[in-house]
């Protein structure tokens, strides 16, 4: 019983850290982008203010049960992903609930939030929501192919599907990181990472101006707050996933923070350089070079 309580406590702590780091990361990234553009940029604490404001919205509207549950599904997906993700290597306190399932579980659990969110947005009844979902799902299907190919390549390389064991195998210096030992699979994974984070050029799903921010068009107030909370957690968690897969995991929080930031920054960097893809363009893109890289990765391990 104590064990469980302690576990819960540590996990909650981890969640808080990740959440706040996610918020901070957002403002840092925005700031960097602003500075590149010659602006001052948002204040570093702006995300928290926004969050407080959203949770403090007075009147809320609901289109129905599924609309209400959509954000819950979404954040359950995000937090769940966090829960099944080992954070710090070698420290059982920060390995969360990773003992309940392996990489495959993570792979599939991502969809939990997506589907719930899509349904919630669907009940909102706004046509733009549906368009956004349609685009999101369409893009996601192809993003996942290089991702899966890469994961399989890694699973074969390390002969395990357990993330913890994969990290364990990468210990001992940069030379042991997957990005060095298996650059092709890593390239495939990094390509798909661009799609997973949905930054430009793959941000048509949100398309802020033509289909007002896509699926969550109708969401406001606390709903939006929940979604933003989730986004903060999700981004870090996904970055942690790639960190664990490719960059040797983290031995402590500092390492984790630095690595996740750098990983996330890859997508930001690419995003500010490239314009946006149309949906069929991005679908075709992921079936091009990333797919070939993925297949190459597979062929190399066969």
């Amino acid at each position: 019983m104590e064990n469980i309580a302690a576990k819960l406590l540590w996990t909650f702590l981890g969640l808080l850290i990740v959440l706040n780091w996610g918020m901070l990361k957002t403002s840092i990234v925005r700031k960097i982008v602003a500075r590149v553009g010659g602006r001052y940029g948002i204040r570093w604490y702006q995300p928290w203010i926004n969050l407080i404001k959203l949770y403090g919205t007075r009147g809320q509207l609901s289109h129905g049960v599924m609309f209400y549950l959509g954000p819950v599904f979404r954040i359950a997906g995000g937090v769940g992903l966090f829960l099944f993700m080992p954070l710090i290597f070698g420290d059982p306190r920060w390995s969360n609930f990773a003992f309940a399932g392996d990489l495959i579980l993570l792979l599939y659990f991502k969809f939990f939030g997506m589907l719930g969110m899509a349904l919630g947005a669907g009940e909102g009844g706004h046509p733009y929501s549906a368009i956004g979902v349609s685009r999101g799902l369409s893009q996601y299907t192809t993003v996942e192919i290089p991702f899966t190919l890469g994961i399989i390549a890694l699973a074969v390389q390390y002969d395990t599907l357990s993330l913890t064991e994969m990290v364990a195998a990468q210990q001992g210096g940069i030379a042991n990181w997957t990005i060095v030992t298996n650059p092709i699979a890593s390239a495939a994974l990094l390509f798909s990472m661009l799609g997973i984070f949905m930054h430009a050029p793959f941000d048509l799903v949100k398309a802020p101006n033509e289909i007002p921010i896509g699926p969550p068009t109708e969401y406001h107030g606390s709903y939006l707050g929940v979604l933003r909370t989730n986004a903060a957690i999700m981004h870090i968690t996904e970055a942690v996933l790639f960190m664990n897969l490719l960059f040797g995991g983290a031995n402590n929080w500092i390492e984790l923070i630095i690595k996740t930031f750098l990983i996330y920054f890859i997508t930001v960097f690419i995003g500010v350089v490239f314009p946006r893809f149309r949906i069929e363009q991005s679908v075709r893109f992921f079936l091009g070079v990333p797919l070939i890289l993925g297949i190459l990765a597979i062929i190399l391990i066969m």
Binding site: R30, A34, G37, G38, R39, Y40, G41, I42, R43, Q46, I49, N50, I52, K53, G56, T57, R58, G59, Q60, L61, P208, N209, P212, I213, T217, E218, Y219, H220, G221, L224
Partner: protein, 232 residues
């Protein structure tokens, strides 16, 4: 559509609907898959008819904290009605960089809390503006931009332009000028922040309180009123 349905779709014999027929808002009869007759009154069936509800502030300290947060996170719904719409985009440029004040643009009323009426407002646009305003969640603030919103400005005698915005919705801040420059806008936002922090920016509740009055004003000028009284 069957012959009978068409027949039943003839407008009702009210003065209003005859004047401004809008087919999809008229009552119609359809038949369920089982052949059951269903009377559809789109206004009743598809729109919530409730009056708006007053939403009181919370406890003092909490509300103060929240007001601070709201004031530092102003999400704009830009309603580019007149020439003022050209003055909004510069806010995001490096020269003015409104982001640093917590000001951001949002594309949908649901996620915004500041409504900017940027200039003269024709009667036709007013309807849309009212709808958008009512769809924003509480608390919400209105910033009126330019002289036209104050007294009609150069359109003071136009047959299709309103003269005073606050006859139709509660305005928090007026920014005078024709047109006011972005600096003036930022000044106006600062004024708004101040108002919010002081807890005086309860426009939404005021709108609720004087709902009938506002509606009467709105309906007086908008002839083809074909929406529910309050757009949720």
């Amino acid at each position: 559509m069957s012959e009978e349905t068409k027949h039943n779709n003839q407008p009702e014999n009210t003065e209003e609907s005859n004047k401004f027929p809008k087919e999809h808002l008229q009552k119609r009869t359809v038949y369920s898959p089982d052949g059951e007759k269903i009377e559809i009154d789109p206004l009743q069936d598809y729109y919530l008819q409730d009056r708006p509800e007053r939403r009181d502030p919370r406890y003092r300290v909490v509300e103060k904290f929240l007001n601070w947060a709201r004031s530092e996170s102003l999400w704009i719904l830009g309603f580019g009605t007149g020439c003022g719409s050209i003055e909004l985009p510069p806010l995001t440029t490096p020269r003015f960089d409104a982001f640093r004040f917590g000001i951001a643009m949002r594309p949908t009323p649901r996620q915004s809390n500041v409504f900017i009426i940027s200039g003269y407002m024709s009667i036709k646009t007013l309807k849309r503006a009212i709808r958008s305003y009512e769809q924003m969640p509480d608390p919400k603030y209105v910033v009126a931009l330019g002289s036209c919103t104050i007294n009609g400005g150069m359109y003071f005698d136009s047959y299709n332009t309103i003269n005073r915005l606050d006859k139709y919705m509660p305005v928090d801040v007026y920014i005078a000028g024709c047109m006011p420059r972005p600096e003036a806008l930022i000044a106006g936002f600062n004024k708004l922040k101040q108002r919010i922090k002081e807890g005086r920016a309860e426009g939404a509740n005021e709108y609720v309180q004087r709902f009938d009055e506002y509606k009467a004003n709105q309906k007086q000028i908008i002839k083809d009123w074909n929406m529910p009284d309050y757009n949720w």
